[in-house]
């Protein structure tokens, strides 16, 4: 009996302690905004986290929780979301591994009063209040084809190296790129291969492309992992100058390949800006200063404002082209 009593007292004390801690957290009025990424250890998301910290410093009363699973799976992100719901964070800004699978978990977060927005890679409309696209998909699709076409005035065979077959981003971009192909005379897409966003698999897929299509003139890889692996494979095969690697990549990882000529140019938005904007929007929504509804304009600090369409989506800015003229300037940033 006495043991039971003791256990009960201990539990009560622990509960009291927990309440006290919660109360002190609430008094400070710090907004805790969780930046959930597809997976940790990816240069792009590390840069976004730096942008989030920058926004937090500007806004003052914001604490950033930068987190994500080890592997790019929906199940891993759901575990992270559950942990964040339990911590009663004020907002979740997520780059999703799966459009649909996260919806039930994020709905639960919203039911418990948490502001949920998606950025970079989106969640289906019912699972978030708004989605921030880094750019618009048609613009990106057009840009990646244009980058390849600019180097091929006479046209030629081109291949896509994508991430996984379930990657929301890459598939939309390739779809949009395919739509604008007729505008680029002579550009002939021969195949789309999948490197699963793994360096070794992307490398092997590129080797396969080089062997299967001897007339290949360009490889378009709209993935930061794939483009580096493809440029390396082209370099190792001694095909610099014959096959141009382009797409979307990180300046720090691509600097060497731009200088060697394996990649003439590539594009990317600024992930620092993206993390900054996502944090700013999450803050505006969670403080009630802005509302996420179709047609609404939400301020994003130094970047300007984003206007939401009927699906609750908005585009941040145009993608930016990097080449030999500006790579040094940006390769030290991200």
């Amino acid at each position: 009996m006495s043991i039971l009593k003791k256990a009960l007292t201990t539990t009560a004390t622990a509960a009291a302690l927990a309440t006290a801690l919660l109360a002190s957290a609430a008094q400070a009025e710090t907004r805790r905004i969780a930046l959930v990424v597809k997976s940790l250890g990816n240069g792009f998301f590390e840069a976004a986290a730096r942008g989030a910290e920058e926004a937090a410093k500007e806004l003052g009363d914001v604490e950033i929780i930068y987190t994500g699973p080890t592997t790019t799976t929906a199940a891993g992100q759901i575990e992270v979301i559950n942990a964040l719901i339990a911590q009663r964070v004020d907002a979740i800004a997520i780059s999703a591994n799966d459009t649909d699978a996260l919806v039930p978990a994020l709905k639960r977060a919203m039911d418990r009063g948490i502001t949920v927005i998606s950025w970079d890679s989106g969640v289906a409309a019912e699972g978030r209040q708004m989605h921030l696209n880094p750019s618009s998909n048609p613009l990106i699709g057009n840009t990646i084809v244009k980058l390849a076409a600019d180097q091929l005035p006479e046209g030629g065979d081109v291949a896509f190296l994508s991430a996984t077959t379930t990657s929301t981003n890459q598939n939309i971009w390739i779809e949009e790129a395919t739509k604008v192909l007729p505008n680029y005379a002579g550009i002939n897409v021969v195949v789309t291969v999948y490197g699963d966003d793994l360096a070794d698999k992307s490398y092997r897929e590129t080797q396969g492309l080089l062997q299967t299509y001897p007339n290949l003139k360009a490889i378009i890889a709209p993935t930061s992992v794939g483009i580096v692996a493809a440029a390396q494979a082209v370099t190792d095969a001694g095909k610099i100058g014959e096959v141009n690697v382009t797409g979307l990549g990180l300046p720090s990882e691509m600097a060497g390949h731009v200088k060697s000529g394996a990649s003439k140019s590539f594009a990317i938005w600024n992930p620092v800006d993206l993390g900054y904007a996502a944090t700013y929007i999450a803050y505006e929504l969670t403080t009630g200063k802005a509302k996420a509804e179709p047609g609404a304009s939400i301020p994003m600090g130094r970047i300007g404002t984003v206007t939401l369409d009927e699906n609750g989506e908005g585009a941040m800015s145009d993608p930016f082209t990097y080449d030999a003229s500006n790579i040094d300037e940006f390769s030290s940033v991200f």
């Binding site: 930068y66 994500g68 080890t70 992270v80 339990a86 039930p104 289906a124």
Partner: protein, 337 residues
């Protein structure tokens, strides 16, 4: 004369026990292993309670249970399979295929009971396929199931490509998102139910004794009159069905199917089984051990998640825990010697 000698030897044979564990003095060994896991589980629970003010919340703990329930259900069947000296690495791929078949049926307008029936049927067929190749044709289980791991998920990729099935019926959501009472989820009830059922099957029936006997020495088991291949076949069927049940729960919880569903689950299931004290070489292990291992992994990942420990560090900690818990008894023995 022969009759008499038979009668004499019969009671001896009846009294003989096939050992539960590889170590001598199995009763003490059994106790110490589960005790060690229990200590680890309690330690993690206490640590989490003090490390995060949010841990001791019934709803949080309820959410956290999803971290292990589905994997644990497969781990129970996998434990029996590994004790019998086999392994099934295709479980996560069976889940993907089951989910895909249900998705196709859903697209054709199937109701929830039909979806569940088809899901279970698919799991059973996958299990039977593995079982025929391993028990029927005598191929090594690790090779067969590495093959079917690619095969089953490959079919899902062919059917789905980069698409997804969404829009499952509303009542289908109960399996993965429903609550039976207060914070007790349907999955948690299933987990408890199967823990008891598999515990009884392994520790309380002659079938369970056969599983141990086969794992210890399949040849001796055969000469003792055990239909070894039939038992192994049944174990593959069981694993297939449990994978199907886990797939139904996961599909219901996600509300959608993609071919990458449950990717990597097989290694987490095997980790759970090994952490639970099941010898990877077969012949020993227990269901209570696997239950404790499931709780440990669930509590640990959730507790670290609350502290916002990066997933990469989390994997390192789980790896270290696995090696630590397994090496500890052996180190203890070396020190005592």
């Amino acid at each position: 004369m022969t009759d008499i000698s038979m009668n004499k030897s019969a009671p001896v044979a009846k009294g003989r026990q096939i050992p539960d564990r590889l170590t001598s003095g199995w009763k003490r060994g059994l106790k110490s292993w589960e005790a060690l896991l229990l200590v680890v589980a309690v330690a993690i629970f206490i640590f989490n309670s003090f490390a995060s003010p949010y841990f001791l919340d019934p709803w949080s703990l309820s959410d956290a249970s999803f971290n292990f329930t589905e994997k644990a259900m497969i781990a129970f069947a996998m434990a029996l399979l590994i004790i019998a000296g086999d392994i099934d690495l295709s479980v996560a791929s069976i889940m993907a295929l089951v989910s895909t078949v249900m998705g196709v049926a859903m697209g054709l307008g199937a109701s929830t009971p039909v979806l569940v029936f088809l899901g279970l049927g698919t799991g059973l067929l996958c299990g039977a396929f593995n079982g025929v190749l391993v028990a029927g044709m005598g191929l090594p289980s690790i090779v067969v199931t590495i093959g079917t791991m690619s095969l089953f998920r490959g079919i899902s990729y062919i059917v789905l490509g980069d698409g997804a099935f969404t829009g499952y019926p509303a009542d289908f959501a109960f399996f993965g998102q429903g609550y039976v009472w207060w914070v007790i989820t349907f999955e948690l009830v299933l987990f408890a139910l199967f823990a008891v059922l598999f515990g009884l099957l392994l520790h309380g029936t002659s079938f369970g004794r056969m599983v141990y006997a086969i794992g210890n020495n399949a040849t001796a088991a055969r000469f003792s009159g055990i239909r070894v291949n039939r038992v192994r076949f049944i174990l593959f069927l069981l694993t297939g069905v449990m994978s199907a049940i886990a797939a139904i729960c996961l599909t219901s919880r996600l509300g959608s199917t993609r071919p990458s569903i449950a990717q990597g689950f097989e290694l987490e299931v095997v980790t759970m089984v090994v952490l639970g004290g099941v010898s990877i070489l077969g012949g020993s292990g227990s269901i209570p051990g696997v239950v404790l291992a499931a709780l440990i992994m669930g509590l640990l990942t959730f507790g670290l998640g609350l502290l916002n420990v990066p997933g990469i560090v989390m994997s390192i900690i789980i790896g270290a825990l696995l090696i630590g818990v397994i090496a500890l008894p052996r180190l203890w023995k070396m020190v005592r010697r």
